[in-house]
């Protein structure tokens, strides 16, 4: 279980997260929605310790991680896998080396066992025969799937997905969504999915939380979010250009001649 209490994070004058409170139950998939730049990825990176929060508490399985020494934090990180927005595959390594990265770094397995694990992880994300390809030879969707295979190879208890369907075609996006659901059902992993793709959110979420102005303004099941009356939530889930979110912005719409 992951518990976030009164989490704050700023970059200079720019307050990104303001007293964020969030709980993710074990085995649950929580989707965090919100506009680009509201701090969804910052939240994920704060949980995994890539960014250091200014104040607040983050507990993972009951362990307070915000003041944990690096060595102890690393033990927790080994249980968490993160699928980055652009894949973040190591471009000097081929697919097999990327997927087996954690095995090669931390575990002393023989080559046959590593190869078997690579094959299994790639098969889980529906990829075959790509082991020798370099990241530059892969499409956007394949990169995300290899990135997920890299995470699966380490056998995580928690998976963070940073915009898993952004930049891929609708068919690949649906395949990725199905994969997230399947992984939760098959492997019972706890997941946090950051996205602004509502189709994806409704498909994979047990619970959805919306971040706006650095705070969680709504939280509930996909049905509850669909029926929410909060004008900000309504504008976001309907994808309206006009509404309370964009009121302060001088956006010009519909003036193309």
């Amino acid at each position: 279980m992951i518990e976030i209490v009164n989490l704050n994070k700023s970059f200079g004058e720019n307050v990104v997260l303001k007293d964020v409170n969030l709980t993710i139950e074990k085995g649950q998939t929580k989707v965090i929605i919100g506009r680009s730049g509201v701090g969804k990825s910052v939240l994920l990176k704060s949980i995994i310790g890539i960014l250091i929060p200014d104040s607040g508490s983050i507990k993972i399985d009951g362990v307070e991680v915000t003041d944990l020494p690096e060595k102890e934090y690393n033990k927790i990180r080994m249980k968490i896998g993160m699928v980055f927005q652009g894949g973040a595959l190591f471009d000097s390594m081929n697919v097999a080396e990327n997927v087996s990265f954690v095995l090669n770094e931390f575990m002393k397995l023989d080559k046959r066992a590593v190869n078997k694990k690579i094959e299994e992880s790639l098969a889980l994300v529906g990829l075959q025969g790509v082991e020798d390809m370099m990241p530059s030879e892969l499409s956007g969707g394949m990169k995300k799937r290899v990135s997920l295979a890299r995470v699966l190879c380490m056998g995580p208890e928690v998976i963070f997905y940073d915009e898993p369907t952004t930049g891929v075609d609708p068919i690949t996006a649906d395949a990725i969504n199905s994969l997230i659901v399947e992984l939760r059902n098959k492997l019972d992993v706890t997941s946090i999915v950051v996205t602004h793709d509502m189709n994806s959110a409704y498909k994979v979420a047990d619970k959805i939380a919306m971040i706006y102005s650095g705070q969680v303004i709504a939280e509930g099941t996909p049905q509850e979010i669909q029926q929410a009356t909060h004008p900000v939530v309504r504008q976001f889930i309907n994808g309206d250009a006009k509404g309370p979110i964009t009121d302060g912005e001088k956006l010009v719409f519909g003036h193309v001649t």
Binding site: I50, K75, M82, F84, F101
Partner: protein
């Protein structure tokens, strides 16, 4: 400006301290050091040698311009040998490597930073300093002195070409003058400096790369800065060492 310089040196020292710490923390992955050493050593050998050879030729010609008038061309081999081993080969090799390898490191690490590969390392519980900086640091600290030894020899060979074929000194006289004038301290002071130059190139290159904060433009800027800062720090360190060697240790 002064504040920025001091704070930059502070950041570099911090990275240097962390790098030094991680050098001694297992596991030791020698293949990573080997890969980086190959980039620094064999792949920079040709250009470093070429420059050293031409510098040897230029030094001899410039000396000849003065010495021939004094009928003192016999001293040219000594002057060429000492100036190349003590000063020119270490500094020029370091500058070439800073331009070639240091810039490459910044561009590579900068791209890794903006594409979240460095974040991915942290997420996988891998320390980026241990994984990225330590192999580059060790490769430069080990390979730059090696490159400089070759540059010393090839620079002196450049002097040989002019002294023997233009000034008509006998080859045996050239080599005996070189050997007579050179002492171990001339070679060693030059090599000592290159260890520090190597550390400067690695730390500046990696620091700039790991601190890129925007896309392609940021990587470009960081790469340019990496070369400029390395050049300045190498020359400053050289000045400091030469002064120390001369005034404090009298060597």
């Amino acid at each position: 400006m002064v504040y920025r310089f001091i704070s930059y040196i502070g950041e570099l020292s911090l990275l240097g301290g962390r790098t030094f710490y991680w050098v001694f923390v297992p596991p030791f992955k020698f293949n990573r050091i080997l890969t980086q050493s190959k980039r620094v050593g064999p792949e920079s050998f040709f250009i470093a040698s070429l420059v050293a050879f031409f510098i040897g030729i230029i030094m001899s010609l410039q000396m000849a311009y003065q010495m021939v008038e004094l009928s003192a061309e016999i001293y040219i081999p000594s002057i060429v040998a000492i100036s190349i081993t003590r000063e020119l080969a270490p500094v020029l090799t370091a500058l070439i490597v800073a331009g070639r390898v240091g810039a490459g490191m910044t561009a590579e690490l900068g791209t890794m930073t903006v594409t979240e590969q460095v974040d991915a390392l942290k997420a996988f519980a891998v320390n980026p300093v241990k994984y990225l900086v330590v192999p580059r640091f060790l490769a430069l600290v080990i390979m730059l002195p090696v490159l400089t030894i070759f540059a010393d020899v090839i620079g002196i060979l450049g002097g040989f070409v002019i002294c023997v074929y233009k000034l008509f000194l006998s080859p045996s006289l050239y080599w005996s003058m070189v050997i007579q004038s050179l002492t171990a301290k001339d070679i060693l002071t030059g090599l000592c400096k290159t260890i520090v130059f190597g550390a400067i190139i690695a730390l500046v290159g990696c620091h700039q790369g790991l601190n890129v904060d925007s896309g392609a433009e940021g990587v470009g800027k960081a790469t340019t800065q990496s070369v400029v800062v390395s050049f300045i720090l190498i020359i400053m360190a050289d000045c400091l060492f030469t002064t120390m060697f001369y005034f404090i240790w009298n060597i």
